[in-house]
Symmetry: C2
Subunit: 418 residues, 2 copies
């Protein structure tokens, strides 16, 4: 941090405190965005290959117009009747398997995960939750306690068990369900029982794991046999990002008991939701009222509805599949003879690139060099996985073939430069 | 609920499930709002004497313009530098006592309470939380567990203790701290220790308790002596509502260790915050990162900043004091010979009216009749307190003397009509 007390970075740290971190060795001061471009305070343009919240592109005019129009008419809560929320709920639920026919709105993905876990624990005999070893599900107390990626400063709940990130397993299709079974057995042995297994359908914080398709099915069966629920965390993969499908769990041909939505839902407007089986909504809701003041307000709904319009009209799911497949194949070609890039994983416009050292071990330092190297070359990506050694490529969905070529050109230079 | 499957109410219940409740026997379908007026789908106008979220009035043009302008420029997260959030943080913190010099942004008051409780428990030896008997602090799992007003369907945490609503105590200034001491002793006896005492500074869900001024001081001393923190929940009283002061705790001449802000902060844009002592922010933040995707985004900050502009320029705190005092005195005059109205409490534009039966016991039925009677007379209020027997009057702060007279005319008719 700069020590100049006049500087924005110093003032920020002084007011917001140390929990609030910035990206990059040399942080960016972003002031404007459009499509897949972000601009800093000096007018320098960056290609955004990182942000999934602006799923239809930064400041998409249709989304901005819809939310701005509504902001001038009415912005209130859901204890009055409103067409907007009901029309949107029906439209969104139509993209889910028929069993998932109820939706409860929240403000953030964290609140939606918190609610899903709360509902799971409310109605089951057990309270145990099973997550992957580097899972991140959000910020509330209950959700931080099921988020091992927050590190050892944040204790996990006594009734929380972790299973390995699937890409570390040799025969995922059998080993992953077996790991979940081991966790179930341990929870039962300690008297906790099982409420739910929750997993990000693309395992973003575990380093992006997309394949083999179908390995989530066995895990879901195991947890249901133990009396628990399978919760699909769609905060990152949802809304078409993985290409060809609206939801990450669709790729695995599995139907969860609940799905949790967030980040891209309103293209930046705070809106999120828990989608669930009606019997679960009934069991919880008949005993406990749930009112979330800002959740499902008409301005957020207007943005969310326009997001669905744009995804459809601009065929963004197809674009995610096409451009994502191109990116992945080009990255694979480019790195095939590079020992420091051990694997490219992912689906659609959500890719993870494993960076390793000469002995094949995760190399955080080199990943950090690359992330900052991209930044200096005006391309924004991030990192994920244990030790942040996996490059995370997760752009807005209008990412074009030209954007992909620009990204690949920078990649080629960076990989050659070490 | 209507059984017509085409009706909005039927479709709403089918999609959103039973946890999501509507106001009034005959729910309202609101489509437009301006100032202190709401309009239903048939164009009928209602005087809003209930909603505190639109603190500067529904769809205030300065707030709408500010957020709309920003929505077209950039809406991203706080891991890039931004002037907006830092300028606003400094401006808002200047309204707090000097000890409270850090702020962490969230999307909702629930998230802010959850974070405050998480921080309190993280750094203390004890985990115990003390709340009032009908407290409501929000929706997350951890916060629902300290919200007894959710009813017996929602279990309280094993380390949660309740103290009586202060207005039920005879000598509040000594009895309230004594009740907190009893809770401290019981938490210690059970081995939980004490992390925090948290109270809404106007005790909204307990039925609105404003006086005697200063009774929170003793409670804060007791909990600090036990090693715990005092958290002021300002989600309802904050931003000038109680008149003469920006924050509800100011009225009591007490400085909390943390304050939690929410509802009115962005006039409907989802934005909330935990304001805290820097040593608490350091203790937590040096060990655990906190990133909340939508929190403190520039669109929400633009709305929140405009809210402060309007509160200042339209002198809304003075208006709250002036119109609130008039309303309170007129209600007292009007009800002085009515045995069914036992007490009028509150400060500024936050009033509670105790409705009792002929034996002086809380009368939910009569309160419900009145709330729905106001609605039929096109005035919106709500209810609070144990058994919802207290009328809750909590309008947007631009509530004028004319609005007050309209409210009082309806009140006079309703009180005469039984």
């Amino acid at each position: 941090m700069t020590s100049n007390p006049e500087s924005l970075q110093y003032r920020r740290a002084r007011a917001l405190g140390p929990a609030s971190r910035l990206f990059y060795r040399e942080p960016l001061h972003i002031v404007r965005g459009i499509g897949t471009s972000l601009f800093d305070a000096d007018g320098v343009e960056y290609l955004d290959a990182y942000n999934n919240v602006p799923v239809v592109g930064h400041c998409h005019p249709r989304v901005v117009d819809a939310q701005n129009r509504q902001a001038g008419l009415l912005n209130t809560h859901t204890r009055y009747l409103s067409d907007h929320i009901v029309d949107y709920a029906e439209r969104l639920l139509a993209t889910f398997p028929a069993d998932l026919s109820n939706i409860m709105f929240t403000c953030s993905g964290s609140e939606a995960v918190d609610l899903a876990v709360r509902i799971a624990r409310h109605g089951r005999a057990g309270t145990g939750i099973i997550v992957t070893e580097n899972a991140y599900h959000g910020t509330t107390a209950a959700v931080a306690a099921i988020s091992p990626s927050l590190g050892t400063g944040q204790p996990l709940g006594a009734d929380v068990r972790v299973v390995p990130s699937p890409h570390r397993l040799d025969d995922v299709a059998s080993a992953f369900p077996a790991a979940v079974q081991t966790a179930v057995d341990d929870l039962n042995r300690h008297g906790h029982g099982v409420a739910a297994f929750i997993a990000d359908s693309i395992f973003s914080s575990d380093g992006v794991v997309s394949d083999p398709v179908g390995f989530l099915c066995g895990a879901a069966e195991v947890v249901r046999s133990a009396g628990g629920l399978y919760i699909a965390d769609e905060v990152q993969p949802g809304f078409g990002r993985t290409g060809a499908h609206m939801w990450g769990f669709d790729r695995h041909h599995v139907v969860p008991d609940m799905a949790v939505l967030g980040k891209p839902m309103g293209n930046g407007m705070p809106i999120a939701a828990t989608v669930l089986r009606p019997d679960l909504a009934e069991q919880f809701g008949s005993q406990i009222r749930y009112f979330n003041t800002f959740a499902g307000n008409p301005v957020a709904i207007a943005a969310a509805d326009a997001v669905l319009d744009v995804i459809e009209d601009e065929e963004l799911i197809g674009n995610a599949q096409r451009v994502g497949a191109y990116l992945k194949s080009q990255l694979q070609r480019m790195s095939s003879d590079l020992p420091r890039i051990s694997e490219i994983r992912g689906a659609g416009l959500f890719l993870g690139v494993d960076v390793v050292d000469d002995d094949g071990r995760p190399d955080r330092g080199e990943a950090d060099r690359l992330v900052n190297g991209y930044r200096d070359a005006r391309v924004l990506i991030g990192s994920a996985g244990q030790g942040n050694s996996v490059l995370k490529i997760r752009p807005p969905l209008p990412f074009s073939m030209n954007d992909a070529d620009r990204f690949l050109t920078v990649t080629e230079q960076l990989l050659a430069s070490r």
